[in-house]
Amino acid sequence: MITPQQQEQILKSLGISALKPMQEAAQKAILQDNDTFLIAPTGSGKTIAFLLPIFQLLKPDQNSVQCLILAPTRELALQIEQVWKKMATGYKVNVCYGAIRWKPKSRISVIPLPY
């Protein structure tokens, strides 16, 4: 769960002052038991709309992967990773995609994707 202070801190890290009505509605819906389908215009803040409630659902005492985000392009996956990092939640994020050269010292997990 999240205290108002925690939420304020995250928004501050993201450089925004308050959630928009769309993001508040998404937060409310995603925290319920049902699945959510959110349709909102381009550039209206959908990434934050789903990342914030997901953060609220994460359990700090669980060490395994708790959430998987699938994105249509690799660069969009990288962008979502950046937004999560900016939120400074303390939860680790790992971005996985195909076609990157394997470096001996790297511990990145690579999932080959067809495109």
Partner: protein
Amino acid sequence: MAYIISGLRNLRKRVLVSATSGINIPDFIRLNTPTTLTFTPDEDVLTNLTVKVVYSEAKDKIETLFQLLCSLNSESALIFCNHRESAERTSALLNEMGIYSTFYHGGMEQDDRERALILFRNGSVTYLVTTDLAARGLDIPEMKHVIHYHLPPHAHEFVHRNGRTARMQTSGTAYVILHRDEPRPAYLDKSLETLELPTNNRLPKPPEFVTIYISGGKKNKLNKVDIVGFFSQKGQLEKGDLGLIEVKDFISFAAVKKAKADAFLNRIKDEKMKGKKYKIEVAR
């Protein structure tokens, strides 16, 4: 996607997001009585996006694209083509005409894809010629112009492409280059403004920044602060001379004002960063 989702046995919650509706959600998602939230833009308050039609007299639209780019006050633009080959060819043609551009599509090596976006994001390249690979989700601040060099086949792709501009509270313009004889797709409203291009424009100004490549990244224990410190102390760059810095696992990129780049590279040529020598040069 079906493969990944089928492997998730204990999936408890699914959240789907999109900017367009009217797509069928495939069965493999196993969406369970979802709460659907629809925030479509209000027709009256309408968005900050303006769509303009630019007619090309010639069937080959390159000359019209050239004139259009010359009329945009050297501001950054994203140019959409329908195929990878045409994105590359169009970029090459623009470069021949004196407009520096680069391309970004799904047929490129991953390193090159990411590099193209870095160069575009940090102002080392003003024009990015791309396919629908760049149509979804990418958030590039201060992008004011989206150009449809080729018409997207469907309305939803038109929406996603346009969505790269006029994000959040900003405004932007989408230009549709249309040949006179080209059938007008249904998603183009009849009432759209036609833009007449002035013909005596000057070439756009060259990019303000150049991207510097550094042969080390996070796994070499380098971070942004290290790079800023090294560039400003050893490299004697002032605050405004240094642009966006991106630190990847084994390499990094930093944008530096073009006018300062040569002297900077000369100064740091024999210097070490955190006790180690890195290859630092203009990114190709």
